[in-house]
């Protein structure tokens, strides 16, 4: 969790909004309230961190509609859906699309705050991963295409001779590329090179 995280509440019912904001205030959690999905969309930007508490039923643009739009925009903001009686099929659909959770009205205290915390943690993690991935991607981006290929094969433990045969280049050329890779990635040993490969695979796979 970080200090910039906020809970964004989108619900057409004023009572629910007021109640949520007061409850969050008692645990020192900053929040922002929105009356409709369109209101939220109008202020949304990629840099928002925290989580979205979203009423599934709202006039004009429903919670599901908003979720769809956010996914299309590449948002990774975790969403907790607020559902009422009989909204389970909609909630299932929301989960299938990647919602963190759904909670049914009226809310149990721990349930609600716990789930908000979980969502915030997810947001935090996702954000960290994104940062790591960006770093890895930036690091690997300095390699040329051929150097990248050589890096992958060396880190996998392939012999220079095999790599040269597979890529249709001379063994000498492989050696030159390998020296360039180690220099560009700032590593001195093969073990360090292998570690970078494993880390990047883990992050990119997340």
């Amino acid at each position: 969790m970080n200090d910039k995280q906020k809970v964004y509440v989108v619900d057409d019912d004023e009572g629910v909004r007021d109640g949520l904001s007061l409850l969050l205030a008692t645990v020192g959690q900053p929040c922002e309230l929105f009356e409709s999905a369109t209101d939220f969309l109008s202020v949304y930007d990629e840099g928002m961190s925290g989580c979205l508490v979203l009423d599934i039923r709202m006039p004009r643009m429903t919670g599901l509609d908003l979720q769809e739009k956010l996914i299309a925009m590449g948002s990774r903001l975790p969403i907790i859906f607020i559902t009422g009686h009989g909204d389970i099929p909609m909630a299932v659909e929301a989960m299938r699309r990647g919602a963190v959770d759904f909670i049914r009205k009226p809310f149990r205290e721990h349930g609600l705050l716990e789930r908000i915390n979980e969502a915030l943690t997810v947001d935090d993690t996702v954000r960290k991963q994104v940062t790591d991935r960006k770093a890895v991607e930036e690091r690997l981006a300095v390699l040329s295409e051929r150097e990248r290929e050589v890096f992958e094969r060396v880190a996998d433990g392939d012999m220079n001779k095999v790599i040269a045969a597979d890529l249709g280049i001379s063994e000498r050329t492989v050696e030159v590329h390998r020296g360039q890779v180690m220099k560009k990635l700032g590593v001195k040993t093969l073990a360090q090179l292998v570690r970078i490969k494993i880390e990047s695979e883990l992050i990119l796979a997340a």
Binding site: G15, D18, G19, L23, R57, P59, R60, G84, K105, E109
Partner: protein, 661 residues
């Protein structure tokens, strides 16, 4: 001239051939004897004298007519003979137009009729003072007596003349046959009507025995009557009359009414008979009796209870059914004031109402209303009662006709139908509520969620010792609890079962409440409901729940049509209230769904006809039953643009009507 001579001369007045001549001769003589300028015989009536004869300046004068007030003539009428021997103008103020103007003396004497009443006077005005006033008075009095006698005589004669002419005319032209029979039984006279009746000419029967007019089998009876009359003086027919049988010349017999009287003429007795042919009357009587019997049969056997009253409200006749209905005798009602009869004695209010209606009918106003009336078993029946005036050709109310018929069973059936309708309406409301459960649950869940959130926040604030916000928290808790209660209340009132109760209510309030209920469902389907409230609507007298049910039905139907047509995004359903051209309160629901397909229109209000997947297809048929039971109308039309427009109209509450079933 000596007095004795004067008297003789006056007495010698030649009686004229006519009264007129006699009077003028008399006046001329008097005027001459007294040296008078003017003399009159007047008849006085109502303070006005009118001359019958007048003599002025030695000639016949014109007819004079003058008011006697203020003249010496008035004194004569009041006190009798009056003499003013000189200076008439000093004693009476006589104007220029007055009859005695410019005269010096006056002598007047009243003329009396056979009762001694003063009917006029004989008066003489002289140009000079009277030489001998006593003599003048005597002469005038004498002449007045003569005039009185003459006038009386003339009156009798005129009366006699009139009466003779009358009797001649009567006998000749009488519709009755008149014949006279002498003591020997021979016909002496036979008038025109008798000729016509019997077919004989007068000359054929005069002198013949009266028996020619009597059928053979009755002749002996007649003889015995006549004999008995002569021997005992006892008459069964003289002076009275009876119906007997007569014989025509052609031998046929016919009924006559015969009135006979005995006349003694020069010591000899004879009989006059006045005969009326009563065959037509008999036939009419027989036909009238038959008609009456028929009428009576119809009157008594009618299913309706009928009574005929005089305009004053006295019962003249009541049919058998009306008596049997309550188990009354004829004389318990006939002859009594209608409203005091035992029919109404169970309710003083009803008596008063019947009395007022009866009096109104006598003024030409028909009334009709429901009454109760005891049956033979003392149970009260409900009747449709009316009282109306029957008028003659002149528009005069001649009697009042009261009719009532038993509608107890009809009322019971009506009551059962009402119960039935109410039960179905209730079941339908429950089913509607069931269908709306999701929406209603959502509607209740919202405030409950808020309450739960505020309660949790409150708890944390208390734990943290931050009490300053608790006031607001509690306020919010209460606010949202009430919000939830409102939803429950609306639902509860729809679920209510019980007697239909009509109340005077504002239609906008009813519709508002139905709209709120429908909104719970509208929100789920993301449909907006627009409510266009009409201004200054008169109140309606309705069962509020039922009218809400109708409005809710129409709103839900419209919404479903919109969902089906997938036309809801941004397009509202509209409900409006207004006062239409017929002064009814009209509620209209306009949707933008697919409209009603042509093929469905006929069956729209038919029970169990539905296109929906859920529901019984009862909504519109119940709505129709409810609106009709409220005396209103319901209908629909497809919109030009899109969707359908359903409406219902209710009559405005009558001024002064209140909580009635």
């Amino acid at each position: 001239m000596k007095p004795s001579q004067q008297v003789r001369e006056l007495a010698a007045t030649v009686p004229g051939a006519t009264t007129d001549e006699l009077l003028h001769n008399l006046l001329a003589n008097l005027a001459g004897l007294l040296g008078a300028r003017r003399a009159y015989v007047t008849e006085v009536a109502n303070g006005t004298a009118r001359s019958v004869a007048s003599w002025e300046d030695n000639h016949r004068g014109p007819v004079r007519e003058y008011p006697i007030n203020g003249t010496p003539c008035a004194t004569v009428m009041q006190d009798g003979v009056q003499v003013v021997d000189c200076e008439l103008a000093d004693r009476y103020i006589l104007g220029e137009s007055s009859i005695g103007y410019g005269c010096e003396s006056f002598v007047g004497s009243p003329i009396v009729d056979h009762n001694g009443d003063r009917i006029g006077q004989l008066c003489v005005f002289g140009a000079r003072p009277l030489a001998d006033s006593d003599m003048a008075a005597a002469l005038v009095s004498l002449a007045a007596v003569r005039v009185s006698a003459e006038l009386e005589h003339r009156k009798h004669e005129a009366a006699l003349e009139r009466s003779e002419a009358y009797s001649r005319a009567i006998v000749a032209t009488a519709a009755e046959g008149v014949l006279t029979v002498d003591s020997a039984g021979r016909i002496e006279s036979f008038n025109q009507a008798a000729e016509k009746m019997f077919g004989y000419r007068a000359d054929e029967v005069i002198g013949k025995d009266v028996h020619v007019l009597i059928p053979e089998q009755y002749r002996n009876t007649h003889v015995s009557y006549v004999d008995r009359f002569f021997t005992t003086g006892e008459a069964s027919i003289i002076g009275t009359g009876r119906e007997v049988t007569a014989q025509h010349k052609d031998g046929s017999v016919f009924p006559i009414h015969l009135a006979a009287s005995e006349v003694s003429l020069n010591g000899e007795r004879c009989f006059a008979g006045i005969i009326r042919d009563v065959s037509a009357q008999k036939a009419a009587e027989a036909s009238l009796k038959a008609t009456e019997r028929r009428f009576r049969a119809v009157f008594d056997q009618r299913l309706q209870l009928v009574a005929i009253l005089s305009p004053a409200g006295i019962v003249l006749e009541a049919n058998q059914r009306s008596l049997d209905f309550t188990g009354l005798q004829h004389d318990e009602v006939v002859g009594h004031e209608f409203w005091r009869t035992p029919w109404w004695s169970h309710s003083p209010e009803l008596q008063q109402r019947i009395k007022e209606a009866t009096q109104a009918a006598a003024q030409g106003v028909t009334s009709r209303f429901e009454v109760t009336k005891p049956r033979v078993d003392a149970a009260l029946a409900i009747l449709d009662f009316s009282v109306r005036p029957i008028m003659d050709k002149a528009g005069q109310v001649v009697f009042l006709l009261c009719e009532s018929h038993d509608i107890t069973e009809h009322k019971q059936a009506e009551e059962e139908a009402r119960h039935h309708r109410e039960r179905i309406a209730h079941v339908s409301r429950l089913s509607t509520l069931g269908e709306m459960a999701a929406g209603i649950a959502h509607e209740i869940n919202q405030p409950l969620t808020a309450i739960s959130l505020f309660a949790q926040a409150g708890k944390r604030l208390v734990e943290a010792g931050q009490f300053e916000k608790m006031d607001e928290v509690c306020f919010k808790l209460n606010e949202h609890a009430l919000r939830a209660a409102e939803v429950v209340e609306r639902m509860q009132s729809m679920a209510r079962q019980g007697e239909s109760r009509k109340e005077i209510v504002d239609c906008n309030e009813l519709i508002e409440s139905a709209v709120r209920l429908a909104e719970s469902e509208a929100r789920i389907h993301d449909i907006q409901i627009e409510f266009g409230k009409g201004n200054n609507l008169p109140p309606v007298s309705v069962d509020g729940v039922q009218i809400q049910q109708v409005a809710l039905n129409l709103l839900r139907n419209g919404m479903e049509a919109m969902i089906e047509a997938d036309e809801r995004k941004g397009c509202p359903i509209r409900i409006t209230t207004s006062l239409n051209d017929e002064s009814e309160i009209e509620v209209t629901v306009t949707d933008c769904g697919g409209g009603v397909p042509e093929s469905r229109i006929d069956k729209l209000f038919t029970p169990f006809s539905t296109t929906k997947k859920s529901g019984m297809g009862m909504g519109l048929s119940i709505s129709q039953a409810i609106i009709r039971a409220h005396g209103g109308r319901i209908g629909f039309n497809n919109n030009d643009a899109c969707g359908a427009r359903f409406w219902f109209a209710l009559p405005a509450a009558k001024h002064g009507s209140h909580n009635e079933r």
